[in-house]
């Protein structure tokens, strides 16, 4: 198959190779010092897709009508227009990055940043790949304002959530739209656990794109920017442009680039632990060998037997702390990445081919993440004004990962529960009878020798519980166009076809302990198997006509008309033998035929279709004032009802923006560039698939607290139940209205620049599955409700204090983002919608609070807020209802970075921070419970009077507590488990997000070699973290809800990674 694909690519490359010149314009581009500037892009202004690149001496030649205006662009320089007949030797002026260059806007139309009336930033390939992040989305973190990125694990395979300007949808998707070469792609999150309490997170599809293939990423933050994407554009868009052969130096040449990197990963933040008390349960048996409690006696260093007694033999160790026992479990993660790309072309045609492999061994034994990707991009311009482009990417992904949280195979939870004196590394040998689950006794029965009666050997879990994901994906597009004069008409058809399979193997075993003391603590699992396949297709077709005309000397007009078709279909089939309520007949045989009870099978088909027509008009007055208006009308199948009028499916939304480069009128030596801009947009969105369908009947299946309890047929009797979600028959499209104003200022010829934006977004008529009281007979109704606002400030500053002609360049930059979110209204009596969490700790959208409000059970408090102590037990009493505890929204996000360049040497450092906001840490809850947390050292574990507490006297009055002591053992092992509020922590952090040092060998050293370029470097990402004082537990970026709206939820989520490595890149 792969060979066949390669053959196809080669054939295509040959087909695209022919070319012939006509109307040649020749010229030369110079840098600010008057030296020939290689690699500058020269394109036809009215047809921005046509262009060439200057050769090593800065020369270019381009086939263009004699009347064409050319545009010269190069990163780091201000763009220049070459009017027809004007001199073609041009000296460019250096510019700061933020202000110049181009932005890929909606529909993948490349535009100059100068003439855009809304906030948009472009990140170059170089900036993106500085830290060698395997995730292109995570690599955006800290590099632009207005973006809230959460990278759950910070390593291969983890989810990355990208939210632009706050969450706009209460129940829907809030991730930014990801667009690759004009085609919006599938960015679904593959979560395979039964719930977020036992999540298996295989990552999100947006992370599949190979960062090395990316030429640039434009971040379109607001609805105005992405209005032409309609529905999905309300969340803003991440526009990814992949590399083409055109930007290779010299025409007609082929450049081959090979890069390889080797990355090591370890865990960024471990919980702080106590090292004074060891295994045991103070209240009961001080040195209970079965315990997961570290509530035993203080360490005394004496020799003690530990674990089970097997045939009279027992292991002995000193009773002392093992400070590094959690750390010792993890391997150093290793990632080897190889990237080979070939690119080439001439002024007519170009192609780019890349092969990428990524092989990762995770920090948890047996985890891996391997990705193989092939890309072909080609374009050609035919003699008869037709042109075509093709981008195709095939990738194959195979990964294995451990389950998080309280899953039966949850590795991290079992590590956390290891008493402080247990040497975890000694549990590694699974054949050793003291660790094994499968050694046989004289009667042939399985006996386990593991020390823990209530926990499992994490090495065993990592070995035996096997969760895998396999993805085959093809995405790409074909673009055929016709361009002549000011006309450009093209049709782009593209798609994203994903075949995704998940396999979850839960081993079947029963083992009784060797040691009679452990009687009753059997290790048992009924075994299970899940296999699920989802095939999805996103198909797009855009037909776009673009016309540019210079109306007068000062005024030019651009009109765009387009039609868009979007088709989505997914089909999921799965079968499951659940270990909780079913089981395997034969151990180690993972097949759906091997269930003790009926296999739960499920098939779901979803389909939707959308037709849109849109248009935009742009006026450009003297390259100084720009006015743009867009309009779009969509017809969405998700609003369709049989026999109803088509009108119902239709919705219209407009946007407009205006910008003014005022320094054209007020020339100034200090403020050398100044632009103000304002925009308004209204974006509509259809409903979720089948959201307006009334409930029907489905096979009855009844859930319990911990698993599905009943699956029909019941004792061979079939049973159906009426669905619990009502639908409104009059669903309207959702709408987000947005206003933004901003300014871009450049000082001292852009040696310093500021980009500032204020925005206000209001999302109304949201289509939401609104919870209703079950007493109505239903649990939810899908209707238009809600009103959410997000307003905020974005600030980006860039200063280049030093830029000397000998090549020394030092640059510092920073961003600041503040978003204030508020849920203004839901509907009727509903003041809260639960987004996630546990039964006693909800993450919600609550009226009057920011989106993502935490509600949990707190202590019962008197009117002054002091905890009320129960006089009987000395423990704080609990409130009956949940209270507000904060939100996962950070108060602000900021970053600070610096780049230092001298000749071939480049050093860059990037810090970022989120301040404010909270998260729920079940890691804390668990560590408090088992007495591992550092904070259980408080008061040497002696009873104490709780600070600022009260009790209720006989008359019912609240009296300051001066007598009832709280026993920390009882507090941690009972009340703390129910008072979820205690485990909501400040989520603030500062991270050293990236640091990189690279050296490009001087050309003269390579003259005699085969290499055109050779760069070596060292890099790191997610290197250090500083957290809030209260958070002694985890990186607040970890999350059990993946990239979903359930954020700030550490339900013993996989810890995040620190990555660092070396990289070599050569070109031929």
């Amino acid at each position: 198959m792969k060979r066949l694909l390669m053959t196809c690519f080669l054939l295509l490359a040959v087909c695209l190779g022919s070319a012939m010149a006509q109307n040649i314009i020749r010229g030369r581009i110079l840098d600010e010092k008057g030296q020939g500037l290689p690699g500058a892009a020269v394109s036809i202004k009215s047809s921005p897709n046509i262009g060439v690149v200057t050769d090593l001496d800065g020369n270019f030649e381009i086939a263009a009508p004699a009347s064409s205006t050319l545009v010269v662009q190069n990163i780091g320089y201000t763009s220049v227009d070459i009017l027809p007949g004007a001199a073609t030797t041009i000296r460019l002026q250096a510019a700061a990055k933020e202000l110049s260059g181009t932005v890929v806007t909606a529909l993948a139309i490349r535009r100059e940043k100068r003439d855009i009336g809304y906030a948009a930033t472009t990140i170059s390939s170089e900036d993106l790949n500085n830290g060698n992040n395997v995730s292109a989305l995570s690599a955006i973190q800290g590099k632009t304002a207005g973006v809230n990125i959460t990278s759950n694990t910070g390593g291969p395979g983890g989810s990355t959530r990208v939210v632009l300007r706050g969450e706009k949808s209460i129940g829907g998707n809030n991730n930014a739209l990801i667009v690759v070469d004009g085609i919006p792609i599938n960015n679904s999150n593959r979560l395979a656990g039964a719930s977020s309490l036992e999540q298996i997170d295989f990552g999100n599809r947006g992370n599949d794109v190979n960062p090395e293939d990316i030429e640039s990423i434009s971040v379109l933050k607001g609805p105005a920017a992405a209005a032409l994407y309609g529905s999905a554009g309300a969340n803003g868009a991440i526009m990814i442009t992949t590399k083409s052969g055109r930007n290779r130096k010299g025409s007609g040449k082929t450049e081959i680039t090979y890069s390889t990197s080797y990355t090591l990963s370890d865990i960024l933040k471990y919980p702080e632990v106590q090292n004074k008390w060891g295994q045991g349960d103070r209240q009961h048996v001080d040195n209970d060998r079965r315990e997961n409690f570290s509530w035993g006696l203080p360490f005394d260093g004496q020799f003690r037997p530990w674990g089970q007694n097997i045939n009279g033999q027992q292991q002995v160790k000193r009773y002392e702390a093992q400070p590094d026992n959690i750390r010792s479990f993890f391997n150093t993660g290793k990632t080897w990445e190889n990237n080979l790309s070939l690119g080439g072309g001439n002024e007519k045609s170009s192609y780019f081919v890349s092969l990428n492999t990524l092989q990762n061994d995770g920090v948890v034994p047996n985890n891996f993440y391997n990705k193989y990707s092939i890309r072909f991009n080609g374009s050609t311009q035919l003699n008869n004004n037709f042109y075509s482009q093709i981008n195709i990417n095939y990738l194959n992904l195979q990964s294995r990962t451990d389950a998080q949280g309280q899953a039966l195979g949850g590795v991290w939870e079992n590590i956390l529960q290891t008493p402080r004196d247990i040497p975890i590394w000694e549990l590694k040998d699974l054949k050793n009878p003291y660790n094994s689950y499968f050694n046989k006794d004289a009667n042939g029965n399985n006996r386990y020798g593991y020390y823990g009666g209530y926990t499992d050997n994490p090495y065993f879990l990592a070995d035996a519980f096997d969760n895998r994901n396999r993805v085959d994906r093809v995405l790409g597009n074909v673009n055929i166009g016709y361009r002549k004069g000011g006309f450009d008409i093209f049709n782009r058809v593209g798609g994203d076809i994903v075949g995704d399979q998940v396999f979850i193997k839960t081993p079947k075993y029963t083992a009784t302990p060797w040691d009679a003391f452990y009687a009753g603590n059997n290790k048992t699992s009924a075994g299970g198997y899940y296999q699920g396949s989802t095939n999805s297709q996103n198909l797009y077709n855009d037909l776009i006509a673009n016309y540019t005309k210079q109306l007068t000397k000062d005024l030019s007009l651009n009109v765009l008309l387009g039609n868009s078709l979007q088709y989505f279909r997914s089909n999921a089939v799965s079968g499951e033998i659940n270990y909780r309520n079913n089981g395997l007949v034969i151990a180690d045989f993972y097949n759906l035929s091997n269930g003790t009870g009926p296999v739960t099978s499920l098939n779901t088909t979803n389909e939707s279709f959308l037709v849109g027509v849109y248009g935009s008009t742009r006026l450009d007055y003297k390259r100084k004032i720009f006015l743009e208006m867009t309009a779009r009308n969509d017809w969405s199948s998700t609003l369709y009802l049989t026999n109803a009028s088509l009108q119902r499916t239709s919705f219209f939304y407009p946007s407009t923006s205006l910008s003014y480069v005022f320094t054209e009128d007020w020339k100034n030596n200090v403020l050398t560039f100044g632009k103000v801009r304002a925009s308004y947009a209204s974006v509509g969105n259809g409903a979720g698939i089948y959201a307006n369908n009334q409930p029907g009947y489905v096979r009855q299946s009844i859930g319990g607290n911990f698993s599905t309890l009943i699956t029909f047929p019941f004792n061979n009797v079939p049973g159906y139940t009426y669905q619990g979600t009502l639908a409104s028959t009059d669903l309207r499209p959702e709408r987000t209205n947005s206003v933004e104003v901003g300014a871009e200022l450049g000082f001292f010829k852009d040696r310093a620049s500021i980009d500032v934006t204020y925005y206000y977004n209001n999302s109304i008529d949201q289509i939401l599955s609104l919870p209703v009281p079950s007493s109505s007979g239903f649990d939810a109704i899908t209707k238009n409700v809600g009103d959410v606002t997000n307003k905020g400030l974005e600030l980006a500053v860039r200063v280049t204090p030093i830029a000397i002609s000998n090549g020394l360049r030092w640059e510092v930059f920073g961003t600041y983002t503040r978003n204030v979110s508020e849920v203004n209204r839901l509907e009727g009596g509903v003041r809260q919608v639960v987004i996630g969490g546990t039964s006693d700790m909800s993450i919600t959208a609550t009226v009057g609070q920011p989106y993502g409000a935490f509600y949990g059970i707190d202590y019962l408090r008197d009117p002054q807020g002091r905890p009320v102590i129960d006089t009987n037990s000395g423990l704080p009493r609990l409130a009956t209802d949940k209270t507000y505890l904060g939100t996962f929204q950070p108060r602000f996000i900021a970053s600070w970075g610096t780049n230092f360049k001298f000749r071939g040497l480049t050093l860059s450092v990037l810090f970022d921070t989120k301040q404010g906001g909270v998260f729920f840490s079940n890691t804390k809850r668990l560590l408090d419970f088992v007495g591992v947390a550092k904070e259980t050292e408080f008061n040497d574990r002696n009873p104490y009077i709780m600070e600022n507490s009260v009790y209720q006297n006989a008359a019912g009055a609240y009296v300051p507590n001066d007598r009832y002591e709280t026993d920390p053992y009882l507090l941690n092992t009972s009340i703390y488990q129910n008072a979820s509020a205690v485990h909501v922590l400040d989520a603030s952090y500062v991270k050293l997000r990236e640091a990189a040092l690279s050296y490009t060998l001087p050309q003269k050293w390579l003259k005699r070699s085969a290499f055109g370029n050779l760069t070596i470097g060292a890099f790191g990402n997610n290197l250090f973290i500083w957290t809030a004082k209260a958070n002694k537990f985890v990186d607040p970026e970890v999350n059990s809800g993946g990239a979903s709206n359930e954020q700030g939820f550490d339900f013993a989520a996989r810890p995040s990674l620190r990555n660092y490595g070396v990289r070599l890149s050569v070109s031929f």
Binding site: F487, N582, L639, T642, S707, N715, G719, S775, L878
Partner: protein, 501 residues
């Protein structure tokens, strides 16, 4: 001009390519293929009956069995400490509330609608009886509840999404009326009655008639303290009509060992990887032992030591979970569905999977009749009392002969024939409490609230309510946050309407 022409032609060509079929057809892909739009009543009946079993059989069963002091939290685990502290939170009951209303009751309502349109009155009768039964459990647990405006979320019902709460007295009156309506529809000769789809009585309409009459006894009986005259009148009339559940006629859902068809409490315990949270409370097991009650061996599993040697029927003081995990304690017996003793008695674990969830039992019918006789001055309460004990003995797995021995020798087995009515009622209700040990915890706790019997229950060691007992369930969090007509949370010490004890 040529350019324009070419452009237009090309555009037209592309447009033709992409828009070749009509728009309406393209957009007509919005009918959910993953659900069925219509079903017959026989597909809804088993679904509702089993769902009622799950709603009754997990947390309501466990909470009832804790507060009736059959069970207590094991020191080796921690799942139900909040019940022992008498401070469960509203969200502890979210699931059950939904399983009653949007689960069981809504399916019953749809079944009745479907039966009305297809002329199947026997389904309507069963639907109304199960509705009345369910609503009584809900109102006994929570007091005032949504009733007249409940289950009306659909447009055809006026789309009431925030139902108002009705006073419990009104709910009781309505449930009696609903039971009467159902009884009027029952016709055992009707051939369009359910068969195997009725997993409670297999379509035996005579049994359903008995169920309806017994339910009326149970409804009137609950009003004995708050409205004694009304109760007496109702009980007299109902007794006169006769036709109650017989000793072996049990309204319950019997679960099977097949995966996905098991007793829901055993299913929860399996999902918790066989964690034994529920162990014997000393209140119940010591009383059984003091009376030499042979049923102790069925209500509980014998406690065993580390190598599975039996150590007797041992309980823990109610709520005393901070004891050593090494204490030897009895687990609930297999008939309760709560046995997790995989190590020493895996047969009991397997049998737990088959344990029924009991709604209205034959022995319960006999106890209700006995009490009704005492309260209405009718004769025969003593023999009815003894019949009830025998019915319970045989139901739990013991024998009538053993029952007779117990009746002859134990304090609580001997009916105080010459005693006062109050004394007789004390005996009947206390004996009913023994009979329901770990198998009808909610009903026993509810009868304790009505009558104050047994008088020997003790507040939990870890009570946060001092010497008070919990008198109700807290309203679920879902009502608090979703229903604009929710009247407000009530403290656990607030009594429900019929509880004046």
């Amino acid at each position: 001009m040529n350019t324009v022409f070419k452009s237009v032609a090309f555009t037209g060509m592309l447009a033709a390519l992409t828009l070749s079929s009509g728009c309406r057809k393209q957009l007509d892909v919005n009918t959910n293929p993953n659900i069925a739009t219509e079903v017959t009543p026989d597909l809804l009946l088993p679904s509702a009956e089993v769902n009622l079993g799950v709603a009754m059989g997990v947390d309501i069963h466990t909470t009832g069995s804790f507060w009736a002091e059959y069970w207590t939290q094991s020191p080796t685990a921690s799942q139900y400490k909040d019940l022992e502290q008498y401070q469960p939170t509203g969200n502890d009951f979210d699931r059950e509330w939904a399983q009653f209303y949007s689960g069981t009751l809504m399916d019953l309502k749809k079944m009745i609608q479907s039966a009305e349109s297809t002329a199947r009155p026997q389904y309507i009768a069963i639907g109304k009886l199960l509705m009345a039964y369910s609503f009584q459990v809900i109102t006994d647990g929570w007091g005032d509840i949504p009733y007249t405006q409940a289950l009306k979320g659909e447009l055809t019902d006026g789309q009431i999404l925030n139902p108002q709460y009705d006073p419990q007295s009104l709910v009781y009156d309505s449930l009696i009326a609903m039971t009467d309506q159902a009884l009027a529809l029952i016709n055992p000769a009707d051939t369009r009655k359910p068969a195997t789809d009725d997993v409670i009585f297999g379509g035996n309409m005579t049994s359903w008639r008995h169920f309806g009459n017994t339910l009326k006894l149970k409804l009137y009986m609950r009003l004995s303290e708050v409205a004694p005259d009304k109760a007496r009148t109702g009980l007299t009339a109902t007794l006169a009509g006769g036709g109650f559940l017989t000793a072996t006629e049990n309204a319950m859902v019997t679960f099977v060992a097949t995966a996905g068809n098991r007793n829901p409490l055993s299913g929860e315990i399996t999902a918790l990887n066989y964690t034994q949270n529920q162990v014997a409370s000393a209140t119940a097991i010591d009383s059984l032992n003091r009376n030499n009650d042979p049923r102790v061996a069925f209500f509980y599993d014998i406690a065993v030591d580390a190598i599975c040697n039996p150590a007797g029927y041992i309980g823990l003081r109610q709520g005393d979970y901070n004891q050593s995990p090494s204490l030897l304690l009895s687990a609930p017996g297999a008939i309760t569905g709560a046995n997790a003793n995989l190590n020493c008695n895996s047969a009991a674990v397997v049998a737990s999977r088959r344990a029924p969830v009991r709604f209205l039992m034959g022995y319960e019918s006999l106890f209700l009749q006995a009490e009704a006789m005492v309260r209405t001055g009718a004769s025969g309460a003593d023999s009815m009392f003894r019949a009830a004990i025998r019915a319970n003995f045989t139901h739990v797995g013991s024998t009538a002969a053993a029952a007779n021995g117990y009746i002859a020798s134990s304090y609580w087995g001997r009916y105080p024939t010459g005693g006062s009515a109050a004394d007789q009622i004390r005996h009947i209700v206390t004996q009913k409490w023994f009979a329901m040990t770990g198998i009808q915890g909610f009903e026993a706790w509810t009868e304790f609230r009505r009558t104050g019997y047994p008088s020997f229950l003790v507040p939990s060691v870890n009570s946060f309510l001092g010497n008070n007992f919990p008198k109700r369930f807290p309203y679920p969090n879902t009502e608090l946050t979703r229903n604009s007509n929710f009247p407000g949370q009530k403290p656990l010490t607030d009594r429900v309407y019929w509880d004046i004890n």
